[in-house]
């Protein structure tokens, strides 16, 4: 440890452990206080209801579609098959996966009678929402990076068309609320584009893409400024050295400036994309069932809002923390090389 790192640091004596104790006491007090308050309003905690919104075992009934009698029940691959025969000699065979047959040979069957049931594991709403949030975030991050990279390069270009376009884009995006931008993408651009496509006889673009585009454009403006700052932080001598060797602007950028700039902007970029993951929670308002919207739906069916919102926050934390770890790993790896 270096000398400056020790300034103001407690020695690990009695008072150190005392304050560690104070921290955990405060934390415990907060949780206990919350729990006590919920008891006061008669809230019943039912954490056991949470797992079913990740995975649940769905029961599927196999039902008859004709009237008749059960002629035979025979084992089949992975279950049993039930053959129903009617008076005119027509027969139909139904397959019951797992073999949980609820009728016996000779029973009289009417249409829609349950012949057997099978169980199947399905992905719950929360996990679907998490997956949607992850998908949106990854796609928006990818396009946000590309938009931001070119936005940043255009921003420092000496060509006024490129430079002013970049400034206009950055100022408009940074100067208006993301919620409004999402509405504009969905209700204005989305309507325009889908109607024009319909006129041309082409299929609509799904809502998901307008939502993702709004996030990518939003993040792109901030990334552009980060990229610009990163490039400008590289010493002028680097450009001069590259150019003096005969490299043109693009070669100098690609081989010399950008590799150094990207290394420096990883921490602010990580912050931006963590924001993007969290901002994706706004997309629920345009009917994209991401994690927050999924949680809202789960709350209405489970009637356990406290547990569900805590779980929702925890799931976002898992995503953002993973990204944070990933960038720390990237940073370390780049320092080595």
């Amino acid at each position: 440890m270096n000398a400056t790192g020790k300034i103001g640091v407690f020695k690990k004596d009695f008072s150190y452990y005392l304050w560690v104790g104070v921290f955990f006491l405060c934390l415990g007090g907060l949780v206990a206080g919350l729990y006590y308050s919920t008891k006061q309003i008669d809230y019943v905690w039912r954490w056991y209801r949470v797992p079913q919104y990740f995975f649940f075992e769905d029961t599927i009934d196999v039902r008859a579609e004709m009237q008749g009698t059960v002629a035979s029940i025979s084992p089949a691959d992975g279950g049993k098959s039930v053959t129903v025969k009617n008076d005119s000699g027509i027969s139909e065979t139904y397959f019951v996966p797992g073999g949980d047959v609820r009728v016996s040979e000779g029973d009289t069957i009417y249409p829609a009678d349950v012949l057997g049931t099978s169980k199947k594991w399905k992905v719950g709403l929360l996990l679907q929402g998490l997956w949607m949030t992850l998908r949106i975030s990854v796609i928006a991050t990818f396009f946000g990076l590309i938009i931001g990279l070119f936005g940043g390069l255009f921003r420092i270009s000496s060509n006024p068309a490129l430079k002013w376009a970049a400034i206009t884009y950055i100022e408009i995006i940074r100067g208006s609320p993301l919620l409004v931008q999402i509405f504009i993408w969905y209700f204005v651009l989305g309507t325009l584009f889908n109607t024009l496509l319909a006129h041309a006889g082409l299929p609509e673009v799904p809502d998901l893409w307008y939502g993702t585009a709004s996030l990518a454009c939003f993040a792109g403006a901030y990334v552009a400024e980060i990229v610009r700052a990163g490039i400008q932080s590289i010493h002028r001598g680097q450009t001069e050295a590259a150019r003096s060797l005969g490299m043109n602007y693009l070669q100098g950028m690609y081989h010399v400036i950008l590799p150094q700039a990207l290394r420096r902007i990883i921490p602010p970029l990580a912050g931006q994309f963590i924001s993007l993951i969290k901002d994706s929670s706004l997309l629920g308002i345009i009917a994209i069932r991401e994690l927050t919207k999924a949680t809202r739906e789960v709350v209405t069916t489970s009637l356990q809002p406290f547990e569900m919102w805590f779980i929702c926050a925890l799931l976002y934390l898992v995503l953002t923390f993973s990204l944070s770890m990933l960038t720390q790993y990237l940073e370390r790896r780049m320092l080595v090389s």
Partner: protein, 243 residues
């Protein structure tokens, strides 16, 4: 090789300064020219104009017959023929010594990897740091870094080498190793323009010394002329201050 006619350069930022005022000179192939002068005299600006890192406002600069102030000239082609060594080295910190030397060969000269490596190998031996080929610039001493920078410029097989105060940022004990490399180059017949405060180098190696002050060339002559009987008062004053 280099033919400079009446170039002017004025800086407006941070305030208006006439950096070059009607500078003209000719430098022949194989000649070693040392440019001296007090700080702010325009000698570095003059050098940087020669490979268009600064654009002169008016006049003509012909490098090997090509006017680099002509808008139609592809400056990148000219720069590939003009090597430059900077005061602060400006090595690429994210690349190894070897990669520093091979990068422009591959990108600009379109040499194969093998050819570029062979050239780098030869040059690293020449500047005497062959054992540091895979080190990063940050792990080298200043003198070693500057020698890598010279090797990087030489790798392009330039017709002219420009040195912008190559030893000013070095610790005293490392100046010698860089000057030795430059002396070797001069003896091999490289055309060199050197901005420096190393009067010993000027005396020993230069074919011609140019003294600049306030953006203009004040006096031109052989080293003997300069250090024994300078004619101009400003030259005398400057030399008396530094010798």
């Amino acid at each position: 090789m280099i033919d400079v006619t009446d170039i002017n350069k004025t800086f407006f930022v941070p305030h208006k300064v006439k950096a070059l005022v009607g500078v003209s000179t000719k430098i022949a192939a194989g000649e070693v020219v040392v440019v001296i002068g007090p700080s702010g005299s325009g000698k570095s600006t003059f050098l940087r104009c020669l490979n268009h890192l600064e654009a002169a406002d008016s006049g003509h600069i012909l490098i090997d017959g090509v006017d680099i102030l002509d808008r139609k000239t592809n400056i990148n082609k000219v720069r590939a023929e003009v090597g430059m060594v900077f005061q602060s080295f400006n090595l690429f910190p994210h690349k190894t010594v070897l990669e520093n030397i091979t990068l422009a060969q591959k990108v600009v000269r379109k040499r194969s990897k093998a050819a570029a490596l062979e050239k780098a190998d030869y040059l690293l031996k020449k500047v005497g740091i062959h054992d540091k080929a895979n080190a990063y610039p940050d792990n080298l001493s200043g003198g070693q870094q500057q020698r890598v920078a010279i090797a990087r410029a030489l790798a392009m097989d330039p017709k002219v080498m420009l040195f912008d105060e190559p030893t000013s940022a070095l610790d005293p004990e490392m100046i010698g190793e860089v000057l030795d490399v430059m002396k070797t180059l001069a003896r091999e017949g490289m055309t060199m323009v050197v901005v420096t405060h190393e009067m010993g180098f000027a005396r020993e190696v230069a074919d011609r010394v140019i003294f600049m002050d306030e953006g203009a060339i004040v006096e031109v002559g052989t080293p003997e002329h300069f250090f024994k009987n300078p004619t101009h008062d400003r030259t005398k004053l400057f030399l008396s201050q530094i010798l």
